[in-house]
């Protein structure tokens, strides 16, 4: 038995020729050259002699079978005939692919579903928040149940390791504010007001908001990825069967770590922002650090700092709950993990900004 085994012969095309009244196919017919022959084969009529075929694979057999209505296949080697039989016996019958055009009712139905899903999302988020608060209540009654090791680990991941990026970002924001403020305020000879500009905007809004946005990008995604991959590998189901409460082991330490560390990160951001602003004011406007400090202490009320810090726990819970919720939405495949991770970040950032806007309106109305 000769079997063509080296790749050169495998890729050469089979030869289809007419010899007297008989069509003859010889050479190698495999998946590598089957497309070329598919264009040629309809030329042949009547009997097709296959005794010259040295190699035939399922793709070739499939092609021959699909033309066997118009052709009479002769001279097959026994092993080729067996393959052809096997292929003929297993050709799948596709069910009728009936597609309906999209009707107005279906479009309306889709919109309705999207609205209902959005409402369902809010319910689920509230559900997750309630679960977290309920577990927190249980910990208040039985402090022994607090997963301390996990809490410290997540506080390290979420808080401590975020300090460099948060500091750098806040420092640069302070620099930019001082620089832009200086250019404008110098026109009125009101350079000293740059201190108020920097302190109020950073303490009241930017310090906490930008920290929350960075943490949302960093942490919401990691929560989703970590919980999602555990969901994917059925680890969370395994926990349930072992009578371990996933909410207690997975959600509580993560969200609680955020709740503790986000205000601290906000404080770091405030200090670094003021530092950057003071530095730039000194260089650009000649406001010495001593003058900056005096002005800061005299003119900027502590209410601005409080307004900033009140928001931190709210942002922390928003980010944590959205991140954990998205992790639980991951289904069996890797693609859904990626989709949920990126949507968790987008949702968390959007929700943080929305909450900040609501706070602004509230504080403005309360005149704080």
């Amino acid at each position: 038995m000769t079997v063509a085994t080296d790749p050169e012969t495998v890729t050469t095309s089979p030869v289809l020729e007419r010899d007297g009244g008989v069509w003859r196919l010889s050479g190698v017919l495999t998946v590598r050259n089957v497309s070329a022959l598919a264009a040629e084969l309809p030329r042949a009529q009547g009997a097709l002699d296959l005794s010259g075929l040295t190699r035939l694979d399922t793709a070739g057999a499939y092609l021959l079978h699909s033309h066997s209505g118009a052709l009479e296949l002769t001279g097959l080697r026994p092993d080729h005939a067996a393959l052809l039989d096997r292929v003929a016996g297993t050709i799948p019958q596709p069910p009728d692919p009936s597609r309906h055009p999209l009707t107005a009712a279906q479009i309306l139905e889709r919109i309705g579903r999207m609205v209902a899903n959005a409402g369902g999302f809010l319910v689920e988020i509230t559900d997750m928040l309630g679960l977290f608060l309920a577990r927190l209540g249980r910990i208040a009654r039985h402090p022994g149940q607090l997963p301390m090791t996990a809490l410290v680990h997540h506080a390290d991941q979420v808080g401590w390791r975020a300090i460099p990026i948060v500091s750098l970002m806040s420092f640069l924001i302070g620099v930019v504010l001082a620089f832009q403020g200086a250019v404008q305020l110098r026109q009125f000879g009101a350079e000293i007001f740059v201190v108020d500009l920097i302190s109020i905007s950073i303490l009241r809004e930017l310090g906490i908001l930008l920290t929350a946005i960075i943490v949302a990008g960093r942490t919401a995604s990691s929560f989703t990825a970590a919980i999602g991959s555990m969901k994917m590998r059925e680890e969370i189901d395994a926990m349930r069967t072992l009578a371990i409460d996933p909410a207690m082991v997975l959600f509580v330490p993560r969200i609680l770590a955020l709740l503790i560390t986000l205000p601290i990160l906000g404080l770091v951001a405030n200090v670094m922002g003021l530092f950057g602003g003071a530095l730039m004011s000194w260089i650009e406007l000649g406001i010495s650090p001593a003058v900056f400090l005096t002005r800061l202490l005299e003119e900027t009320g502590t209410n601005h700092v409080l307004v900033g810090f009140v928001k931190a726990p709210v942002f922390a819970i928003i980010i944590g709950v959205i991140g954990c919720h998205a992790g639980m939405q991951v289904r069996g495949n890797a693609e859904s993990l990626g989709a949920q991770t990126s949507s968790a970040v987008v949702r968390a950032i959007f929700a943080v900004i929305l909450a900040d806007a609501l706070f602004s309106v509230f504080f403005a109305m309360m005149d704080i």
Partner: protein, 259 residues
């Protein structure tokens, strides 16, 4: 007729740090046979498979596939060898973001000039040959049961009509009916397509039902090769325990009942 040797291993050595898995291992695999590889846990059955499939270079020794040196050859030559082999991983190792049909089409995409319509039809054919229903082609791997994922993995391994197929524990985790259907499938496909099958397995029923020859890994080498009958004669303690244990007797009993 002297049998055509498609895989020839000589003096193979595999070690993880100080832990030597294979030392001076020799093995020949003949064209068209179904070879079952057995051995206790940790004897490096899967390591051997990964080694031949080119996923792990051995520390020493030579691997010849289709008469070519598979270790010291150009990348093009290695790719040509790879295209003539297919691997079915234990859990299918299907790409989770693609449907089963798209998974089977992946290897076919490497072929220039293969028409997309024909590629799809061939993928459907391979899915059907692996014993999956037509609609399984549209499913994602996560929507399939373990047994169906194995079949889909086999369909992908067979996509290009390879000459050698490596199966890593093909029947592990299947119910007995599914497992014997899978044995039947492998046997049938190997006959129809002239496949050489290198099968790592623990399943004595599989060894009975589809293997022409069995290779036993022990003492860091292929200690014995031979047919099932020859295995029963060997008095190495592990081999004796393996082929004469209560499970083995049950497997032999069912085989005798069938034949």
């Amino acid at each position: 007729m002297t049998r055509d040797v498609v895989i020839k291993l000589r003096g193979l050595r595999n070690a993880f740090g100080a832990d030597v898995v294979h030392d001076n291992l020799d093995l020949d695999v003949h064209r068209g046979e179904v070879l079952g590889v057995v051995g206790g846990s940790g004897t490096g059955k899967s390591v051997l498979l990964r080694c031949i499939a080119g996923l792990r270079p051995p520390q020493a020794g030579s691997i010849e596939i289709f008469g070519q040196d598979a270790l010291n050859c150009s990348e093009t030559a290695r790719r040509a060898i790879d295209q003539r082999m297919g691997v079915m991983f234990q859990d299918g190792a299907l790409f989770s973001s693609l449907t089963v049909r798209e998974n089977v089409e992946v290897p076919m995409r490497t072929i220039d000039g293969l028409d997309a319509g024909l590629r799809r039809e061939l993928a459907d054919l391979k899915i059907a040959m692996s014993g999956l229903p037509y609609k399984a082609g549209d499913n994602y791997p996560s929507e399939l049961s373990g047994g169906m994922r194995k079949r889909a993995g086999l369909a992908r391994a067979l996509a290009l009509d390879p000459e050698i197929v490596f199966l890593d524990e093909p029947t592990a985790g299947l119910d007995p009916i599914g497992a014997s259907a899978f044995d039947e499938l492998i046997r049938g496909l190997s006959r129809a397509m002239g496949l050489t099958v290198f099968m790592v397995t623990h399943d004595l029923d599989s060894l009975h039902a589809c293997c022409d020859r069995i290779a036993v890994l022990a003492d860091r080498r292929v200690k014995y090769t031979g047919t099932m009958e020859e295995m029963l004669e060997i008095d190495h303690p592990w081999v004796h325990e393996y082929f004469h244990g209560p499970r083995a007797r049950a497997a032999i009993a069912t085989k005798d009942k069938v034949s």
